[in-house]
């Protein structure tokens, strides 16, 4: 992370969103909204006085509600850049029009309540889409696990935060409900994944391994603890993965093959009722905490990204690669590449490999000085173009404009307007050729004559 921040060739634009993408491979024009942080990054030293003194506490999104943050905050202590933002929805200065504490205490005079979103347009030759994943919203559909009403039924990501040394509990695994150390932790795999009835049909790929890791961590950190994993299948097809799983099993993790039918509270305990399909009988565990391995789904906002970049998505809304085997990081938009879980659920090793592959594709493009363009674009027969501009209206890429030509007619110079195609912008869709009433517009490679000949041939 620090390596990316310190690299002389990398410019960070955090708290920023892409608003529009125009242009084409080698020449994208991207409009970016730099959201107002309300903090001047050129002055801020990241000293932390502002968030220490800020009187407003809200749930930390970063800690998935397990911890609190202030209204002016860094998501986590090691954030890069170490420049806080003001959450204007909760900051008293914005909600009630008075407070100003952070501005008063800031020794660098970096707080700027009047800062506005900044819109910039920048040129790029290539775009890598790495918008990632979020977790399946299990609370909405899994009634058998309590629809999220039991605080000690958490997701793997919550467990990561509890377990993280810089997390809300300083790395202690405790129950969110009462802060007690759990002795029996039940893990349920395939929550939202491999479940066509309630969730997604696909396997989320990383869960078997992170659940093994979680079970290992429970056994390692909590003396005398029990880790019980309910699974459908165990999938460990990576280098050193199966060995890792076996290590966890040898440490004492109990793997039970079967689905959990119900989780419910009984006093202090969460009763987990399920089936052991290998023994062929019902099992019941009185657990202190239940951790769900929820499916990865595309990061919210994928629709906007897909629309701006002309990306296709698969049935589960992950971005579609140009070919599942042979072109895994390319998209059908030239110059736009995919990396990571936005293309499908992935673990870290696979994500890193794919990101490097996408980087190579970008470099491959950049090693060339000029790019050959597809010649299958629209063309105008100026001699019969009536200059009606119907084509200009229908062109989705703004590639057609009208120009004036002069020609000799009966010995006199006559000027008239005709359509003209910009070869860099034309994507070869051919909408213009259909709109053209005089057939002056045609599409090279897919001419009217060619397509009619095909129709005739298949109808024989």
């Amino acid at each position: 992370m620090v390596a990316a921040a310190q690299h002389p060739n990398i410019e960070l634009m955090t708290y920023a969103e892409v608003e529009n993408v125009a242009g084409y491979v080698g020449n994208f024009e991207v409009t970016i909204r730099k959201k107002a942080r309300s903090v001047d990054p050129t002055k801020c030293t990241g000293c932390g006085t502002c968030w220490e003194k800020c009187p407003t506490k809200v749930d930390s999104e970063f800690d998935l509600g397990l911890g609190k943050r202030k209204a002016i905050y860094l998501p986590f202590p090691q954030a890069v850049p170490a420049v806080p933002v003001i959450d204007r929805e909760h900051c008293r200065q914005f909600t009630r029009g008075r407070c100003g504490v952070c501005q008063k205490v800031c020794p660098a005079k970096a707080i700027d309540y009047d800062q506005q979103d900044e819109i910039v347009t920048e040129k790029f030759g290539a775009i890598v889409v790495a918008t990632g994943y979020e977790l399946f919203k299990w609370e909405e559909v899994y009634g058998e696990y309590g629809y999220g009403k039991y605080p000690d039924v958490i997701t793997g990501m919550h467990f990561e935060r509890l377990n993280n040394a810089s997390g809300p509990t300083g790395g202690k695994i405790v129950r969110p409900s009462d802060g007690k150390e759990p002795k029996t932790v039940v893990f349920i795999k395939c929550v939202g994944s491999r479940d066509e009835a309630k969730g997604k049909s696909y396997c989320s790929r990383a869960c078997c391994m992170y659940t093994a890791k979680h079970a290992h961590q429970v056994l390692e950190k909590i003396p005398g603890a029990q880790a019980i994993v309910f699974y459908m299948d165990i999938r460990t097809p990576g280098k050193a993965y199966e060995e890792f799983l076996q290590r966890t099993v040898h440490e004492g993790a109990v793997y039970v093959r079967g689905r959990v039918s119900r989780v419910f509270q009984e006093g202090d305990k969460l009763i987990v009722r399920g089936e052991d399909t290998l023994l062929g009988r019902q099992v019941e565990v009185a657990a202190d905490m239940v951790v769900l391995a929820t499916a990865m789904v595309p990061s919210s906002g994928w629709e906007g990204v897909a629309k701006m970049l002309g990306l296709q998505t698969d049935k589960d809304d992950f971005f579609q690669e140009a070919h599942p085997k042979l072109r895994p990081v390319e998209t059908f938009t030239a110059g736009v590449f995919l990396a990571g879980a936005c293309q499908g659920p992935k673990d870290i090793p696979d994500t890193v490999s794919q990101a490097s592959a996408a980087a190579v594709k970008v470099c491959q493009l950049f090693t060339q000085d000029e790019l050959a363009t597809d010649p299958m674009i629209a063309t105008v027969d100026e001699s019969i173009c009536a200059g009606c501009a119907m084509c200009e209206k229908v062109c989705p890429y703004k590639a057609i404009s009208m120009k004036t030509i002069t020609e000799r007619v009966a010995g006199k110079q006559v000027a008239r307007r005709v359509a003209s195609v910009n070869g860099g912008l034309c994507q070869g869709c051919g909408a213009c050729s259909v709109a053209c009433p005089s057939s002056a517009m045609n599409l090279k490679g897919f001419t009217n004559e060619q397509i009619l000949a095909e129709v005739d041939a298949v109808c024989l």
Partner: protein, 72 residues
Amino acid sequence: MPVAAEAKGWEPKIVAFCCHWCAYAGADLAGLNRLQYPANVRVIRVPCSGRVNPQFVLRAFQRGADGVLVAG
């Protein structure tokens, strides 16, 4: 088509205009997944469904197609 001929296993002749970027890709995907469908469809690849001139559709009917599908 007379009823008698239909009874003898007559099948319609269908011409499909498929957009290279979506419907044609979808037809390829159907192949990759080995989804089976009747063999009486003839796909003509177009760069966009917007490329399909109504004239192409009429021509297909004129030449004896029983159905035309524009997919994109």
